[in-house]
Amino acid sequence: MYESMLLPLIVALPLASAAVLAAFRNRWPHRVIGWAGTGVVFVTFLLSLAAFAQLRGLGGEGVLRWVFSRWEIGGRPYEWGLVLDPLSMWWLLVVTGVGFLIHLYSIGYMAGDESYGRFFACLNYFVFAMSLLVMADNFLGLVMGWTNVGLASYMLIGFYIRKPSANAAQMKAYLTNMVGEVFMLAGIAVAVIRYGSITFDAVFQGVQADPGWATAIGLLILGGAAAKSAQLPLHIWLPDAMEGPTPVSAMLHAATMVTAGVYAVARLYPIYQASETAMTAVATVGALSALAGALAATRQYDIKKVLAYSTMSQIGYMFLANGVGAHGAAAFHFLTHAFFKAALFLCAGIIIHELGGQQDIRRMGGLREKMPFAFWTFLVGVLALIGLPPFAGFFSKDEILAAALNEGHYFLFALGVVAAGLTAFYNTRLFSLVFLGDPLEAPAKSGKRKHRREEEHHDHGHHETPWVMKAPVAVLAALSVVGGAFVLAVDPYLHPVFARFDAREVHVHAPVWAMALILGVAALGIWAAWALYGPRGSRRQAEQRSVGAPAGLLGRAFYFDEIYELFVYQPVLALADLVGHYADPRGVDGLVNGLARMAYGLGGRLGWLHSGYVRRYGLTLVIGLVAVLIYFAFYV
């Protein structure tokens, strides 16, 4: 335990900056707003590094703490504060570090947007919310961070406020997460009631000998985690969330926010490890999401939607890792994924930016010559995502699949391997359609009106990409290449966290045959995609000629939207109609209106008292007097 002033500073700085930027968003010039917002996140990153050094200095089981307030309800002590242990540190460094790069990128990407100030205020606010989440030292703080993150996501998805599809997407995201949060709050409530404390440690102690309740709590919290991390079956909001500006997609909906669920499960590992059922549920949800996301990604036409389904799939791997007990592997894959997925999204942003808002990969093609920078960085990202050695993704994905295999989850391992093959497939397709071969028509002219997604993107046609956009992509791409080196650091660094409650030891080294199998399947995926969508692929022309939204089982992502529409949305609407048209107006409103009419009528009657005649006033006075006197004379 060590009280560190750095902790409150790390959360307060972005929050204060968000408030200041929001207040002066229309007064300060864009240049000042952008650099101030970015600078603050950079300082926050430096502070996080300082905290990292401080934490290292403590060594072993040491954690950094800061308590904001202590109070007591019903004789039980409560506390609200921040904590940094290696696990939170891991997340915090990525949030602030990658966050800084994406802020920097946004300076260029958002240039000219009329709501530039609002954008940076929201983005800073997100950094605050996410730091609060990962530094929570009890369930209360976790929920506070969780809901703040949800609000930040809501504001940023709907950033283009005049765009109806963005409004719909933000509401969808918020409502879906709300469903998850109800489960999560229920789980936390059960834990707090049963073990009489909101601190993690007390609940962790409590669940050790209480597997039945651990299952219940774990599954309920998994509901919230799955919603936030876009896992089956609450993943439906993530593809729509791509309505937000691309830096937002990169930061919230790929690198950091959507991994909050992964973090929560890793943070609460004693609850899950106390219950085999909860563990299996986490792993199954993860593996199925990995497969479903990869399948859906194979049939998307919007570059950002491909990446969105890919995010869902990759977070599925992290859940799988958590579910088989390899929390370190989950944290490792979170790190590498943050690097290569942010690089891919930012790269996609450059492409969209240079094409003046074009997001449809059928209208791209042959961009290799036009955008060499994007070509190389995207290639690095894609290779890391496919998981070819020596790129970062190889190491982390390999650890996860090895852990599944070593723990005896053969079926889930198989699902993961198939998903890995599909990952290779859709990435090759994406890369080939965007950069290789020939475009169907000249991309700048074709379908400009029809297919532009980010209509608010300030002007059209070809743009030069400024260095502030290129530099972060280059850094992230470089990290995607060498990030695998963290494989040496992750387990020793996080070990004290997982040793505290005796997490099971999971071997994350794959046998050679498994490694060969994974790489072989990936190669198969690449080969198949090349045959179909390569520069001379058999399906390429047909794909490029097709128009309209993706269709079919995979294009519609297993019809989840339609299913929810039919079984949730329509019944709720019908119920609302019933209440709104019948029960409320006749029942509740009837009662209320009746009361109101009565009061109004009485108000009119009372006018008699105030007729203006003094004699009547006097009479009232005398009546009152007589009544009081009679009372005092005879009844006191």
Binding site: T620, G624, V628, A633
Partner: protein, 500 residues
């Protein structure tokens, strides 16, 4: 024979007010009105400030003067501060007056404040009556102090007639009590009430009669009939002063009277009629306000309701309860002053400010002002984060502790009804101005025309000063409202300490 010099510190605030009033009148005599006009206000404000300055050193302890006739204990001094604040605020709001006889108006205002202060610090029945008469006589005239306004004159006359009757009740009640007790001091009465096994009927009737007299000044139903007319007719600053000052002074005197005169063993029985009156006041005040179209009249009815709320502090006659009452009064001072200051300000910029209709679209014309007024209306309705909520909450707690379920029920009902009354004004402010642009514009023009006519008169202070003063009162009142609403703990602890 009491030593005058010993009593001077207690007397000094009262003297400051009285002398300030005389000073204004003397200035009127020696300087021509044109030149002395601004000085009148300065002297009057100085009188109030001086009185406040003399009050502060007294806060340290419980002092009495003239053998217990004046009790400058901390309870009374709190009321002095409230009264002085109300007087100061209403003086600032009065800056817009421009008649030649404004000196008389100012003098009467100060004398009324002095009467209230005497009432709040009265240590025996005679001083209660003295204070009451000083304040009443001054207020009768002040209500009529609107040149050429027949409504005001009529209201003043009614107020005077009914007030005279009520004063008769009170005096007769005092006489009966004197007859039974053989003395007029509150100490004597308290000893008598506690020492006598079977209190005579004459004493009980005396208490009943006195209660009706106090109820009249507090405007409790059914002794409230004068209030709506007087509030509507009186000049706005006078209404502001009357609504807070009279209520505070009468509440203080009644609380003292009850603490002394009610025998502890029969507390419930003695306080029951007051509870009934209070419950009636809350409901009638809230219901009757529903149909009013004039904001001043709404505030008159709201004053009736609030008098009822204040009574909730009395059940059990405990320190916590009375502390809640004091807290609510401080809050009520802020809410009312904010609203009246807003009305004066609107009048000054050429708007009507009285009829609810004239508030339509104010949020779009003057967003800051409308926001402040909306906050004050929220406070009156009892919504957080204003003092209205905190105060009502504390009063409800006091009523629960005193097991006054009737009052609690009435409070809940009245709060529900009155929310409509206040929020209707807020709704009017927020209504889109497009629909009513023509009518509002016409009203503005109509209101501006006489204002321009008044501007042609020779007397009067600079427009900016008047607006600035009204704005300052508004800002201070809103700040107080929020401060008391958000951080009630400290203030309340201090107030409860005052009673110890």
């Amino acid at each position: 024979m009491p030593n005058f010099a010993e009593n001077l510190p207690v007397l000094a605030p009262l003297l400051a007010l009285a002398v300030g009033a005389l000073g204004v009148l003397v200035l009127d005599l020696v300087l021509p009105a044109r030149r002395g006009y601004g000085w009148w206000f300065a002297v009057a404000l100085a009188g109030v400030a001086l009185a406040a300055l003399y009050t502060l050193p007294l806060l340290g302890g419980n002092r009495t003067a003239f053998g217990g006739a004046l009790v400058a204990d901390r309870f009374g001094l709190f009321f002095w501060l409230v009264i002085l604040a109300a007087a100061g605020a209403s003086l600032l709001l009065s800056l817009s007056r421009s008649e030649e006889d404004a000196s008389g108006y100012l003098a009467l205002l100060l004398w009324a404040a002095m009467g209230m202060a005497v009432l709040a610090a009265a240590g025996n029945l005679m001083v209660v009556f003295l204070g009451l008469e000083i304040l009443s006589l001054a207020l009768y005239v002040l209500v009529a102090f609107a040149p050429g306004n027949r409504i005001a004159w009529e209201a003043a006359l009614k107020y005077f007639l009914l007030g005279a009757v009520a004063a008769g009740f009170l005096l007769f009640g005092f006489a009966l009590i004197y007859g039974a007790v053989g003395g007029v001091g509150f100490d004597q009465i308290a000893d008598y009430a506690r020492g006598t096994a079977e209190l005579p009927r004459i004493y009980k009737l005396g208490v009943g009669l006195s209660l009706t007299g106090f109820a009249f000044k507090l405007a409790l139903v059914p002794f409230h009939v004068w209030a709506p007319d007087a509030y509507e007719g009186a000049p706005t600053p006078v209404t502001a002063f009357m609504s807070v000052g009279t209520k505070a002074a009468a509440f203080a005197a009644m609380a003292r009277f009850l603490v002394a005169a009610v025998p502890p063993q029969a507390q419930t029985a003695y306080l029951l009629p007051l509870g009934v009156l209070a419950a009636l006041s809350m409901l009638v005040g809230a219901l009757a306000a529903i149909r009013q179209e004039n904001l001043k009249r709404i505030l008159a009815y709201s004053g009736i309701s609030h008098a009822g709320y204040l009574i909730m502090a009395l059940p059990g006659l405990t320190e916590e309860g009375l502390g809640a009452g004091l807290f609510y009064l401080a809050g009520y001072l802020c809410m009312n002053m904010a609203l009246f200051a807003g009305m004066v300000y609107l009048r000054q910029v050429g708007e009507d400010g009285e009829s609810v209709a004239s508030y339509t679209g104010l949020l779009y014309r003057r967003p800051a002002l409308a926001g402040a007024l909306a906050l004050a209306l929220f406070a009156l309705a009892g919504l957080p984060p204003t003092v209205g909520f905190t105060g009502k909450f504390l009063l409800a707690l006091a009523a629960i502790r005193g097991e006054a379920w009737l009052l609690l029920g009435a409070l809940i009902l009245a709060t529900g009804v009155s929310a409509y009354v206040y929020l209707r004004v807020v709704a009017a402010m927020a209504r889109q101005p497009e629909k009513v642009r023509r009518s509002a514009a016409a009203e503005v023009a109509a209101a501006a025309a006489p204002a321009a006519g008044e501007g042609a008169a020779a007397l009067g202070l600079p427009d900016g000063l008047i607006r600035g003063a009204a704005g300052a009162v508004l800002v201070l009142a809103v700040a107080g409202m929020l401060l008391l609403g958000v951080l009630p703990g400290r203030v309340l602890a201090a107030l409860t300490g005052l009673l110890g």
